[in-house]
Amino acid sequence: MSGCQHKWKMKNVEFGFVVFEKCFHCNRVRTYFTTEMVAILGDEYREADHFWHRVENAQSFRFDLQCSVCGDLESFGDLMGLLYCTGCLSDCRLEILRRELEAERIHMLMACGFLGESELKPKQVRLDKLEELTNYFNQRRDTARSRIKIVPFDLEDGFCRCKGEFLYDVDMLSQEPITARRSPF
């Protein structure tokens, strides 16, 4: 570990899509990032025992962080997205944390890794990386006014009950004005 107090900049920014696919056989959801043009929603295909179809294409981006002092590069390719808590369950561990942080003017966002097909919960992004990501955002604002904290999304039951929403773009290409967002889960 270098002794550097890293000053982060976003590097290698790639815009693309986070694709959510659901198997209508077992109801599992899997997710991945692609920079390819993903055209058709509802496109179905079979893979081994699964019958996948796309339920969501969200515009998003992928990036690395590079320290402008020492040149260290931290890749965030395993970050699927940042979720914001909608306060759906007042006794949820993350909602309680959110309220505590907000009392100190700290805005909380939850970091989520990708969901593999054999998993019920999304992968975790390393805690130390989330700390650096937190630093990245705090380095770019007046922290006397407010701060950011990126915490891991680590609910035991994953997305079963969570009504948190991702910070990404959906329905940009919709030909009709958007009314409400549907959850991909």
């Binding site: 976003m10 815009f15 805005h107 950011i148 929403e165 910070l167």
Partner: protein, 110 residues
């Protein structure tokens, strides 16, 4: 220029309860992913996106205010969330391109 001065000089309508801040620059995008990657603290964020996710996105990059252009209606949910976090949601009847002309003439983001 502060948010309050902008409201007066440009004729913007404040929709949320907010903290008056200095406007440092301007960022225009309807995609929160672009805003997360490119907007800077203190920017005035011009958009027609009214989904409530603009509030956590605005918080994340610490914009000074959000201006919804083209006279778009903003859902109550979004306004409530913004007021909760002291984020200014301002409304303009002008489409984005015309509003840029006015802002630039006032020296905003110059």
């Amino acid at each position: 220029m502060t948010t309050q001065e902008l409201i007066e000089k440009v004729g913007l309508k404040p929709l949320s309860k907010f903290e008056n801040r200095v406007v440092e620059g301007v960022y225009i995008s309807d995609m929160v992913s672009d805003v997360m990657a490119g907007a800077k603290s203190g920017d005035l964020w011009l958009t027609i996106q009214t989904h409530k996710s603009i509030v956590p996105a605005a918080n994340l990059v610490d914009v000074s205010a959000i201006v919804i252009t083209g006279g778009k209606e903003v859902p109550a949910e979004t306004v409530e969330l913004a007021s909760k976090y002291d984020i200014a949601i301002l409304s303009s009847e002008l489409p984005t391109f015309k509003l840029v002309g006015k802002l630039y003439a006032l020296g905003v983001g110059a």
